[in-house]
Symmetry: C4
Subunit: 248 residues, 4 copies
């Protein structure tokens, strides 16, 4: 491993036509909570780890006395026709140059696993409280807008830009012939929102045709300091005044 | 597309001796408004898109539910002897290193289309209100100063530096054997100035020998958040106290 | 020497199975004080100098009228079965990208000297005063936790992350097949702590099986401006509010 | 010219054993004023221009209506045994990485002209007013300290570090087998100091064995905005509280 982003494959798993699901830290941690819960409920297997000079130069001290690098982790899941590649992680790269490098490395890997479709998960912060948050969408292609509207995803109501991996995986993926949808749970934006994550994961599981128990999701809400710091940096790197009007 | 600026040619258009016109976001959006109006009035054709890791890592959510990457777009126009290559875009690169990379890529492409002359458009902010703004100029060569003075462009009254693409395309272009003029509409600098853009576009159209209706220009004034943010960053990257004394 | 980190070997010294000891500037200068004292008491020999474009672009003016570049220095020591490679320095690289580059260069060099084990030294700041500071540990492997617990190092009580070289040498080293432990003297964090350095060095010397006189350590406490500045930068680069909860 | 620092040779001038004199912007502009005056009095010839993506992405608007890139310029002078290569410029690179790249390019060029010795000029700011400023020195080698002490340069009184080109040319030059002295005029540090520049240039001209009229130096004091901005950035890049205790 040298001075570029490095994907370390730890398990060889074959896929025919998998769907990529991204759940890195972002607004309200909505996407991260949903994707982490999915990985655990499905007992998805770790297939690769991503290390990058664009992630903070820190190692995490674990309770058992050992350390580990900050990283992203890719999980694989196969059951019948359902094939999933799920991307989790401690952090996202902060600058544009870094996001491009990391995202392109990921896309190369996803393509090597025959993936053509990507769902990125996030929160859409609007500064309001939602009793029944909806799932908003933004897609790479018009045909996907139509496909997902039928499934109850709301398009055309989210404004502004999608910052970071949730946007870049779709934007750069499209330039490389892939397609995808960003699925955003409505949320306030200023706090961690397990309820929005539940609604988002429920919709996602309908879309991919699986059943996931959602009860335990709340208990998993635990924002570690690092994630908070990194979110803050990502936000600052955009020069925005508030975190509410964009998803990350 | 990997980790450098990438020009994606979308239409093959041949030119003999085209003039490049740059209208990226800058002071008072004077140059951008003028160039965008020109593209629409002439119904110029999109010939290339520019993507860069030096542009913000965001995708724009469109009203129709789809997304697109932040980018610059190059348009082509040919009619009789008039051959134009017009550069528009959401953003400019922010750092010096990024501006050099992006500008050099653009110049390579412009030269491949046989371009030798570049007009960059901008506003010259002076903190005053102008009823009848003049068009100020700064040229790569003394002979161009003389040529454009005859056409009513005022030289030698603008002071300081030209920051960003409007300056770099001329500065780096000159080092590569090209020539050009920066045309600046006088403007206050603190607000979007459609009037200055009109005066600038009128002068430009005389120079290139075309007729453009200017009435609709005002209606197109719509500053999107992204452009404002990016302008702010570009400005901050220069460590300047105020936005008024330099064009961007 | 060009635009990357450069290790200039100044003395050829062979090792069979040396242990690397890192003592670059960090919290309370605990690790630096301990490692510097070790080098002087053992009269270890300078074997290499490290220069890097990621260190500040400054030269130090010495009292004798000459200058020298900011740098890191590697010392070697051999006596019987004890083989040590000790890393000291004025500064650490500040950004993640720089830390990765510098750390990887160092690891390549350490491996070329047959090193497989690394001890990184630091302070663990907790905002409290310690009469009898303990030595906390964090290891690359569970088996090292067990080995070092027997020697009185306390594991599992330090929380958060280890920032900079003390963490990166272990994290990146592990990815390259090396092993190691970060040894941290408990300290307040807001001032230079020679007492914690003494306790740390005492424990370290027991572990490596040598005897070191500790009396003179206090006299060597001299924080130069550069080190302070660099520590501040490293800290700021993490966007942290306080220096206390992480070791550097 | 692409995305690295580029030295454009504009005049072929041969040297046998020239001395390099550096006078880029720094504290009190002492070095810059002295070196610029020297170039004009000697009527030295422009031999090369240096352009860099690490210089600000701006072009300067000249009074005659033309523009030019920000740059450094190298002048050559030969008369009898006196052979000089003088480095002037609008700006210095701001980051460490950039300073290394630019300095290494310069050193390669100087070596290609057979230069082995470098004198860098600067101000040594101490927050005091000097009626009769002295010339302080810092050298690459002990033998130069002795040589220059005989000529009235004061060594061992300047403390801290030399930041930027004045330090890097010596530090990196020494690593490449060159030698040199940084000559610093004592100055307050908070304002442009033509008097210190005079004293410095007088001493320098004695050292290199030439006679230079100093009367006109005062009239040339004209701090342009760009230089001021760049100096500020360089200073900020070091995280220093005040500009006084270091030369730049």
């Amino acid at each position: 491993m040298k001075n570029e982003t490095y994907i370390r494959v730890v398990r060889d798993m074959k896929f025919k036509n998998p769907v990529v699901i991204e759940g890195l830290p972002g607004i309200g941690l909505v996407g991260k909570l949903a994707a982490e819960h999915l990985v655990r409920e499905l007992e998805a297997k770790r297939i690769a780890e991503i290390y990058s000079p664009h992630f903070p130069h820190q190692v995490i001290m674990r309770k058992n006395g050992t350390i580990r690098m900050l990283r992203n982790v890719i999980y694989g899941y196969k059951k019948g026709k359902v094939e999933l590649i799920i991307l989790l992680g401690d952090v996202q790269a902060v600058t544009s140059e870094a996001q491009f490098e990391v995202t392109n490395k990921m896309l190369d890997y996803f393509k090597s696993l025959n993936a053509k479709r990507i769902y990125t998960l996030g929160g859409y912060g609007s500064g309001k409280y939602f009793d029944k948050p909806r799932v908003l969408g933004a897609a790479t292609h018009k045909r996907l807008v139509e496909e997902f509207e039928k499934r109850g995803v709301v398009f055309g109501e989210s404004k502004g830009t999608i910052i970071g991996a949730a946007g870049m995986l779709l934007g750069l993926g499209k330039l490389q012939g892939m397609e995808g949808v960003c699925l955003m749970g409505e949320t306030h934006g200023a706090y961690v929102d397990a309820n929005s994550a539940k609604v988002l994961l429920k919709k996602l599981s309908e879309i991919i045709g699986i059943t996931v128990k959602l009860d335990a999701l709340d208990k998993r809400v635990k924002v570690d300091k690092i994630t908070e710091q990194e979110m803050k940096k990502l936000e600052e790197s955009e020069g925005k005044e508030g975190p509410l009007s964009y998803i990350r």
